[in-house]
Symmetry: none
Subunit: 429 residues, 2 copies
């Protein structure tokens, strides 16, 4: 059956699936970055993709997974199992699943031998199986490796496209051959454009209630995702052109920002740190940190952003009281009277850092990260944060809860302190 | 049916499956790191695991995947879809798939409200659905978040265990509740004991060649895993008793350490930071940091370890040259002559920090993290590291490569600087 006719029947089935083959994935030896990469590519092509499966190098389970997919989907993309070793079973298992004989492609075998020789290896007889393909399959050339893939319609309306597991080879084969094929035959109708809005200081449930009507829309769709200290909303619009999709997306983006105000701190690849650095850069101002319980985490978050050095001067990790006194000028009296985890001390840390290090702004953090060191008055999870700037100082105690664990308390302290500075910059001065 | 009887039937089915639920995975927004982590944990428990599936937030497809798994496996582990928003569908879909009514657990609803209030959020009515569970399900407590999971046997010999998608919550729930349950009920016939040895400063391929004979053993098995800046070897021994498994494991552990010497820095939950802090604690000594390109990352890595305050005094984030001069006493001449990224300056930073902050030891880091700022003489990826102690200073330049990216260069700098101190403590003094 010609491919065009096969594809005409495709609409009855539900889209694309990804099947990743490799025992190393089931053992947790490697992250399935191929699935993520293919998923993102499919989303960008606007090809609906409903399921990913991982199975090991096992004939029976592989066959079972393939035959299940026939009933559900019109395109099955596989990765892995195209190598020369005995546990590389993909091509022969696919052929067996659809009762189709394997045939050697002599021109491929010559090509594989030439590649091995050119690469300084001796062509092993085991490589010969990489030239075997089911009768009727189109070859999907592999420009860099010895494992070609295939584009094969073993059943009407069902196409399987195979890739090796090596990410660089898979990506090259995808872009050079599979994408043009999918554009022509894969039923790509619409273009999808998506944007991620980022929020902090608001719970996922509260945000979702705030925008619940938009979560129920179908084009664009809006979907919430929660992370540690932040919530994200992904807006995805579908259109005949990028322009058309953007015209649907932009008003929803604007509406979401309008409803959520300062809770929305950025979009896509922005981070709280990058947003704070951008705000300061625009004003031509600088920042330093004075950190106790975060031990340098605020500084590291800022330093993670390219070009941070234009804004971030540095800071003091004042873990011990001696360093708080020596480098930030905190008096013994103040420490004695209020303790290191207190509003007066964290304000003094912020002011001390700002003045002594000669910056426009400063962030100070002092808290009880635990698991030890908590008292009834100052339990684990209590963190004092202060931000000092040209027009004064703002401070706020936060209670992250004793059960969070040390790492989460430290990470949330970093988020909250950056957000305090962001809000101070946006509405406080 | 009591769980013990249910489990007695279990041997007919084929093991464990993982089902990850979330449209963000199908869109390629995030890597499926949960599946990898769970796979590694299952391997360590010796629980055979044959399939991973990913589906989106869609009732029909989720239901279909769950019902397929019933026929194949005896334990289904799910992640994701336990949040409060309308697209969090896991619990209700599971209940519907097995025709079981949902019931509110009033004590859970009180707990969720208390958690939200403690975290400074207002408890939303939508959170109430997180207290709904199918009749008969055991609750899998979530100590840090508002989304509890469950352990539920909806069919004889088939148990589903649900986790939220937030990795930190999932991991905590896994270790605290699911692992003990699986050890008791999961059909683990033999006892598996496993240990993770951690290495740094050696490539995975070199390490694998060094111990290739041990990688081929079947009991205990030894499997390598690579991470950023470290390589791990997991030793897993099988025996009728813990004692018996340990007797098989210990000699292989000893042999691996013997062959690899100082490359092995620790095991299991140890980190380079915790090992360094332990070494210093045993000697009753203290440490400070002086960080330029890592911006506080070394300090934060040390502060992440409980009881770090007994050893870590703090430090200086000397991002700008002005701070290097003011707080660490680096002379203008030295900076002018050699540049901030140089052996003399990083040594002076280490000595300055140690003396001025009154610690026994110090770690200093100065490098070009990029993407900008590289020159032919000092390309992106060049990092100078120094460690100073009571008996002198050791320094070493490292070239991590221009293509690594800023974050990896910063993270590798943290690893390498902690390792330099570890080696100095172990053999240099």
């Amino acid at each position: 059956m010609p491919i065009a006719m096969v594809m005409a029947e495709a609409s009855a089935r539900r889209g694309v699936e990804i099947l990743c083959i490799g025992t190393e994935l089931l053992l947790g030896n490697i992250l399935n970055s191929n699935a993520r990469w293919l998923a993102e590519e499919l989303a960008a092509l606007g090809l609906p993709h409903y399921r990913q499966t991982v199975v090991g190098d096992n004939v029976e389970r592989l066959k079972e997974s393939v035959l299940e997919a026939v009933d559900r989907s019109r395109i099955l993309i596989t990765t892995g199992g195209l190598g020369p070793t005995p546990d590389d079973l993909t091509t022969e298992t696919l052929a067996a699943a659809f009762d189709t004989p394997l045939e050697e492609r002599p021109e491929l075998w010559l090509e594989i031998q030439a590649k091995l020789t050119a690469g300084g290896s001796i062509s092993a007889i085991s490589n010969r199986k990489q030239a075997l393909f089911p009768r009727g399959a189109e070859i999907l050339p592999n420009p860099s490796g010895t494992a070609p893939g295939m584009i094969w319609c073993p059943r009407p309306g069902f196409t399987v496209i195979t890739f090796p597991g090596v990410p660089s080879e898979m990506k090259q084969m995808w872009s050079q051959t599979a994408v043009p094929w999918l554009r022509q035959h894969g039923g790509v109708a619409d273009i999808f454009v998506s944007r991620l809005l980022r929020f902090t200081g608001i719970a996922e449930s509260t945000l979702a209630e705030e925008v619940s009507d938009l979560l129920e829309q179908s084009n664009p769709t809006v979907a919430p995702y929660a992370g540690l200290g932040e919530v994200k909303l992904r807006i995805t619009a579908r259109g005949a052109t990028v322009e058309q999709a953007r015209q649907l997306l932009d008003p929803v983006d604007a509406e979401l920002r309008h409803r959520t105000g300062l809770f929305c701190y950025g979009s896509d690849d922005e981070s709280l740190a990058s947003v704070v650095l951008d705000l300061l850069r625009q004003r031509g101002e600088t920042v330093v940190v004075a950190e106790s319980c975060t031990g340098g985490g605020v500084g590291a978050a800022l330093a993670a952003v390219p070009r941070a050095s234009e804004v971030l001067l540095g800071g003091v990790i004042a873990y011990s009281n001696a360093i708080k006194q020596a480098l930030l000028g905190i008096s013994t009296d103040l420490l004695h009277q209020h303790g290191a985890v207190s509003d007066p001390v964290v304000r003094a840390m912020a002011e001390g850092a700002r003045q002594r290090l000669g910056a426009d702004w400063s962030i100070a953090v002092s808290g009880v990260a635990g698991p030890g060191g908590g008292t009834q008055a100052k339990p684990v999870g209590l963190v004092h944060i202060a931000v000092a700037g040209p027009h004064g100082c703002q401070a706020s105690p936060v209670q992250f809860g004793v059960r969070r664990g040390r790492l989460a308390i430290q990470e949330l302290s970093v988020v909250r302190s950056l957000d305090l500075l962001r809000r101070f910059l946006l509405d406080g001065s």
